[in-house]
Structures are given as structure tokens and as C-alpha cells.
């Protein structure tokens, strides 16, 4: 085997998404020589064809839990999951930040400490209110149902500039309206001299005598690359970071404490066309059943979500002629995402195997969310609601929901159970007994090694996490910039 290509930097950042992008930008702008390595390819706006199948294959990483009941998704490209997310922006929930302080020994992370970084994240990604020009019929129908129920709900801020409502947020934004790190932090870092190595997978962090020395990686063509650096910041996302740390010899609680926002979709058929494949993929949220930001519900958000063919087909129950008949009504379908605030905990191995068996109380959160979404749609005039439960009959009136409230419900009953909001596996905490890194992101026991993606968040956030992840990365980067390393 030929000797590896050898590079040197002040900092290696592993990952280029909501965690790695901000860290790379802040450190490059402070004069550090930064190399960003990203396992996925680099695609730009002109490469985004809008083809659901093609772009999903090129941009998404697809995995599953060991018991195969839950699919796990993440972005696998320069920009990471910010390239495929729905651009929704929520500030971190005060209840969750308090939980991190009280239960994980992060007492120094007061709301006041978080505030400037949340504000900067909000500004950097151009989070702005979603006005009526960006609410498609899909969102308006959910809004109508919530209004008739008297439920708390609102349009959701999104990280966009001059959005033209293509409805392609999940497949790479062809107009560059979505402010993913591909168009924000990564170019900022590069303008300041950072180098991005796309298609380069980190094999391990080189740790010698208790200190990080760099990263051993491999390019897509199999060429090994060794990058020497005294500072390594791992921000490869929850499907990669815990396993990378374990492969690198980081022990303790690495790979422990995974927590997700488990998700399902509820579909409704209306008499009139909805055309839910156009317009922002997500733009409206019902938070009546949420358990954060002052709400006292069971812990389920209901959010309008796109109606492209693959995702619509996956969420509809059953198979065969009945399933095909529902798909033939695609233009008339509206859909909502049920995203719950899990309490389940899981693990990841060094090989990347994820064990995550959804707890009964989380199944009840999903049930509550599905029933809530069905009620919204029935109140909005849906002819029928199709729950993502294989074998379940369509819901045509409120009384039909009685059977849903009492039936047994297991993860493998669901047509599609998945998570794209993934947390933990290298959590911040006050001690190595509770987590992998301290409040500054520094890995316990390894000098010069930091974690700055959603892996470092101690728990699920209860809301879409983009802003929280970016704010946390900015906070960690600010500490590094000021010489904490």
C-alpha cells in the first residue's frame, strides 16, 4: 500500500453540517489553518435536479436500528443534514436547557450564556418568519384544523432567503434559498482559507499520549490521507461521531445515551387538490401537544410536511391495490409529520450499529400525535385520514379514532417509523461518569479533541434542532477561538 498523503493544519474539523460548518468558519476567520473533511460529495445548487429518488440517493445517508423497526436518516454531503432539512428554526427550549444544567452537570450553561450564540445562529442562517406567501394549501389545511380545534399553532420561522416555494428542501435547494451550511458557513470558512476535502471519510482520530494528533482518513478512491493537527473537532453527526470516537479509542460513555425524535406521518385525502409537493416542505407547526416552550402536552409536535411520491408512499399503510389507489390521489393528499420528544435511550457500537428500542411511553406519544393530526384534518374537512399503521382502517369521522386509542401499537406495526433528529452518543456533561465531553466540548481525558455536533447534546431538544446545534457549535468554536484548546 502506498504511504498516505500527508497534510497539516491547525485544526481538523470532521463534518461540514450544522456542527462542523460553524466551527470551521469561526476558527478559519480567527486565522487558524483549518481542514474540513466530509465523507459525502460536494454538490452545488446546479447539481440539485429536484428528482426525489436521485437526490435522496446522492444526498442522504440511510441506516436503521438493529431491530430494523426504525429508519435513521442524515445528510451525507458537504453541508450535512442542513442540505436536506426543512429549514425550520426553533430557539432552544428553556426547559431542555434547564434539564441539561440540572441533570447533566452543565450548570455553567445558563440561558444567558446560550443567548448570544442562539442569536448569532438565528442571524447567520437568516431565520425569518414565514409569511402567508409561503404557506401552501398543505400547511393551510393543517392550520385550519388546528384553528377549529382551538389549538396552539403557528407558521414556523425558516432559514431561507428569497424562497421561491419549489418544495425541494429535502433534495438540495436548487435556488440556494435555503441557508444550509453549504451556502453559509462552509463558504465563509473557505474564504478565510479553510480547505474542504469532500468524499473523504475519517477512519480514526489519532490519539497519542493522551492528546489528539490528527485524523487518519480515506478518500473515495481508496487513497489514504493522514492529517496532522493538534486540534481535532469531531462534528460528523450522530450516525458517525460516536462510532468514530469508539474506533479512536475513546471509551467511557462514548456511544451511550442516544436519543431521537421518533417520527411518523399522517396523511389526509381532501376532495380538492392540495398539490402538497410544491411550496415549502414544512412551514406550519401545531404545538398543542408539545411539552416544551411552556406547553404541557405529552410531547408531540405536528408539522405540515411535503407530499412527494416516495415519502407519501412510504407513509401510507398496507400494500397492493388499496395502497395504489391512495397513491393515485396524490394531488389531493395533505400530510403532517408527528415528531415526538423521546425518552428512549439507545447505544451505538464502533461499527455503527444502533440499538434503540422505542419505549412504550414513546409509542403513546406517537399515538397521541397521530390522533391529534387526524383530528386536525377531520376538522379541516378531510374525506379520510390514513394513519401509518399497517392494517388500520381509514379514519372518516372522529368516532373512528376510538379504535386507534385502544388498539395495541408496536413499532413494527407502523408503515414508516423513522428519525432524522438524532442526539447524543458523545454528550456534554459535568463528569466522565455522565458524558463524553465537558461543557466546552472537550473530550474527557484527551487533550485537543472536541465534539461539536448533535452528538454532544445530552438529550433530545423537543423541537427541530438546527438552531440549537448551530448555537452549540458556535459556542464551542468561540471557546476554541479564545484559546481554550
Amino acid at each position: 500500500m502506498s504511504p498516505p498523503e500527508r497534510l497539516a493544519a491547525d485544526v481538523v474539523v470532521v463534518g461540514s453540517g450544522a456542527g462542523g460548518g460553524p466551527v470551521a468558519a469561526v476558527l478559519a476567520e480567527s486565522g487558524r489553518r483549518v481542514i474540513v473533511i466530509e465523507a459525502g460529495p460536494r454538490l452545488e445548487a446546479g447539481d440539485f435536479t429536484g428528482d426525489e429518488g436521485e437526490m435522496t440517493a446522492r444526498l442522504w445517508k440511510v441506516a436503521s436500528t438493529a431491530d430494523t423497526t426504525m429508519n435513521l436518516y442524515a445528510g451525507a454531503c458537504v453541508g450535512g443534514s442542513t442540505v436536506i432539512n426543512d429549514a425550520l428554526c426553533f430557539r432552544p427550549a428553556p426547559e431542555v436547557l434547564a434539564q441539561w444544567r440540572d441533570a447533566y452537570g452543565l450548570g455553567g450553561l445558563s440561558d444567558a450564556v446560550w443567548a448570544p450564540f442562539v442569536g448569532r445562529a438565528w442571524s447567520d442562517v437568516h431565520a425569518e418568519p414565514t409569511g402567508p406567501d409561503h404557506l401552501n394549501r398543505n400547511a393551510r389545511l393543517l392550520a385550519l384544523g388546528a384553528k377549529r380545534l382551538g389549538w396552539s399553532a403557528s407558521a414556523t420561522p425558516r432559514s431561507v432567503r428569497d424562497c421561491v416555494n419549489l418544495g425541494l428542501c429535502n433534495y438540495g435547494c436548487p435556488s440556494n434559498a435555503k441557508q444550509s451550511t453549504l451556502v453559509t458557513y462552509v463558504p465563509r470558512a473557505e474564504r478565510a482559507g479553510a480547505r474542504t476535502l469532500a468524499g473523504t471519510r475519517a477512519l480514526r482520530v489519532r490519539i497519542e499520549a493522551g492528546a489528539a494528533r490528527g485524523v487518519d482518513a480515506v478518500r473515495g478512491d481508496g487513497t489514504p490521507v493522514a492529517i496532522d493537527a493538534p486540534l481535532v473537532c469531531v462534528a460528523a453527526g450522530v450516525l458517525e461521531t460516536p462510532a468514530l470516537l469508539l474506533r479512536s479509542g475513546v471509551g467511557g460513555r462514548a456511544g451511550q445515551g442516544l436519543q431521537f425524535h421518533s417520527s411518523v406521518h399522517v396523511t389526509a385525502r381532501f376532495a380538492e387538490p392540495v398539490h402538497g409537493y410544491y411550496g415549502p416542505t414544512m412551514a406550519y407547526a401545531v404545538d398543542e401537544l408539545s411539552d416544551v416552550h411552556g406547553h404541557r402536552g405529552p410531547g408531540a409536535m405536528i408539522e405540515s410536511v411535503t407530499v412527494h411520491p416516495i415519502v407519501a408512499a412510504s407513509a401510507l399503510p398496507g400494500f397492493g391495490a388499496a395502497h395504489a389507489a391512495a397513491m393515485a390521489e396524490l394531488p389531493n393528499l395533505a400530510r403532517a409529520l408527528i415528531v415526538i420528544h423521546d425518552r428512549t435511550r439507545g447505544t451505538m457500537s464502533a461499527e455503527g450499529a444502533v440499538r434503540y428500542e422505542l419505549a412504550p411511553e414513546d409509542m403513546e406519544r406517537l399515538r397521541a400525535g397521530m390522533i391529534g393530526a387526524a383530528s386536525c384534518y377531520l376538522n379541516a374537512g378531510a374525506e379520510e385520514v390514513l394513519l401509518p399503521i399497517n392494517g388500520a382502517a381509514p379514519i372518516r369521522r372522529e368516532a373512528d379514532l376510538a379504535a386507534v386509542k385502544t388498539r395495541s401499537l408496536r413499532p413494527s406495526d407502523l408503515a414508516l417509523l423513522y428519525a432524522v433528529h438524532l442526539f447524543g452518543g458523545a454528550a456534554m456533561a459535568g463528569s466522565p461518569e455522565q458524558g463524553v465531553c465537558d461543557a466546552s466540548g472537550a473530550v474527557f481525558g484527551v487533550r485537543g479533541l472536541y465534539v461539536a455536533c448533535a452528538s454532544s447534546l445530552p438529550t433530545a431538544t423537543g423541537v427541530n434542532p438546527q438552531i440549537t446545534v448551530i448555537a452549540n457549535a458556535l459556542r464551542i468554536a468561540d471557546g476554541l477561538r479564545r484559546g481554550a484548546a
Binding site: T49, G50, D51, E52, G53, E54, T56, A57, K61, V62, A63, S64, D67, T68, T69, N71, D133, L135, N136, R137, N138, R140, V164, N165, L166, G167, L168, P174, H275, G276, Y277, Y278, G279, H308, P309, I310, A312, A313, S314, G318, F319, G320, A321, H323, A324, A325, M327, A328, L330, P331, G352, A353, N390, G391, R410, S412, D413, L414, A415, L416
Partner: protein
């Protein structure tokens, strides 16, 4: 049928986790489950010019047969006419999802060689009539056993992903394609 084959098929009938995993191992070790095209109905086999990276010709055929039942009769015509090559698309997908490829390959072999009460006799899934295939899939979908339901979900998910990802299926769904430049525009979706 050899004693080993009988054991294999009996184990498949119960399909608990241990036997499921044992099945795959035994099958791989003994070659009981054919990996070549032998015995695969011609209409389900990959085209000669198709090179598979993950699926075997057998699992390609099982997946194609299952997908034809999952997507309904009009969709099945598109697959039968080779206008949508779900098996080839699935193979390409699984290359990029190695954690899914192993379990799915095992699931397809179990689907092919399991003993399913609704069929009533020992015949590969690919060789029984469509109605019987529907019966097998329905049994998996509603089974009391997690593993059978997981098998169904895995095969169904990949079938729907590969099928509805193909532009050829737009005639079945009414999806006008991205960008709203046809008869249905983005403005149509933004109306009150």
C-alpha cells in the same frame, strides 16, 4: 428434499429471531438457497446486461416479485414491462446502505423459502401465483411476530422507494414533477 432443507424450512415457518439468524447462516454456508439464476422465473430475473453489486439474481427476483404485489396491478405492469427496474434500483440503493443490505438480503431469502401457511405447500415465493404472494405479504404485515412484520416493512419500504422514485410512475400518481413548469404550477399549491 434433504433433511437440512426440511430443517431450514421448518425453522423459517416459526421465524423467531434465533431461527431467522440461523437460517441466513445455514443458507449461506450450505448453498441451499441458490444464488444463481437457476429456478428463477425468467420474467423476474435480472437482464443479462445488469451487474448486481449487492443482490444475488435470486434475491433480485424475490424483491421484484414482492414489489410487483406491493405497488398494485398497474404498477406491476410497469415492472413487468421493465419500464421500472426495481431490482436494479434496489441494488444501487443497498450499495450505499450497508447496514440495511445484510438484513434485507436475509429477509428476501426467508420470504422466498419460508413455509407460509397461506401457500400450504413448500414452494418458493417467486413461483406461486400472485394471489398467494399477496397472502404471504399480508401474513407478514399482520403477524404477531415482530420479525415477520419487520420483514414486511423492510421489503415494502425499499419497493416503494425504488418504484415511486422512477419518473415512469408519475402517470399513476398525478405527480407533475419538480419545479411546477407543467400544467400544475407552484401557484396552484399556494392558493387559499
Amino acid at each position: 428434499m434433504s433433511a437440512l432443507q426440511a430443517e431450514l424450512r421448518a425453522a423459517a415457518a416459526s421465524l423467531d429471531r434465533r431461527t431467522f439468524l440461523r437460517l441466513a447462516g445455514v443458507a449461506a454456508a450450505t448453498g441451499i438457497m441458490p444464488s444463481g439464476c437457476g429456478g428463477v422465473p425468467e420474467g423476474l430475473a435480472p437482464r443479462p446486461d445488469v451487474t448486481l453489486a449487492v443482490l444475488s439474481p435470486r434475491t433480485y427476483a424475490v424483491f421484484t416479485a414482492a414489489a410487483m404485489r406491493i405497488v398494485g396491478p398497474r404498477g406491476a405492469e410497469l415492472i413487468a414491462d421493465r419500464r421500472v427496474d426495481v431490482g436494479g434500483l434496489a441494488d444501487a440503493w443497498l450499495v450505499a446502505a450497508p447496514s440495511v443490505a445484510g438484513p434485507l438480503g436475509q429477509a428476501l431469502l426467508v420470504l422466498e423459502f419460508g413455509v407460509w401457511p397461506v401457500i400450504g405447500k413448500v414452494r418458493p415465493f417467486t413461483s406461486v401465483p400472485p394471489g398467494a404472494q399477496d397472502g404471504v405479504l399480508a401474513e407478514c404485515m399482520t403477524s404477531r411476530l415482530d420479525l415477520k412484520r419487520s420483514l414486511f416493512r423492510g421489503v415494502r419500504s425499499l419497493a416503494l422507494l425504488t418504484f415511486y422514485g422512477s419518473p415512469a410512475t408519475r402517470s399513476l400518481t398525478g405527480y407533475p414533477g419538480p419545479f411546477g413548469t407543467g400544467s400544475v404550477t407552484i401557484a396552484d399549491a399556494m392558493k387559499d
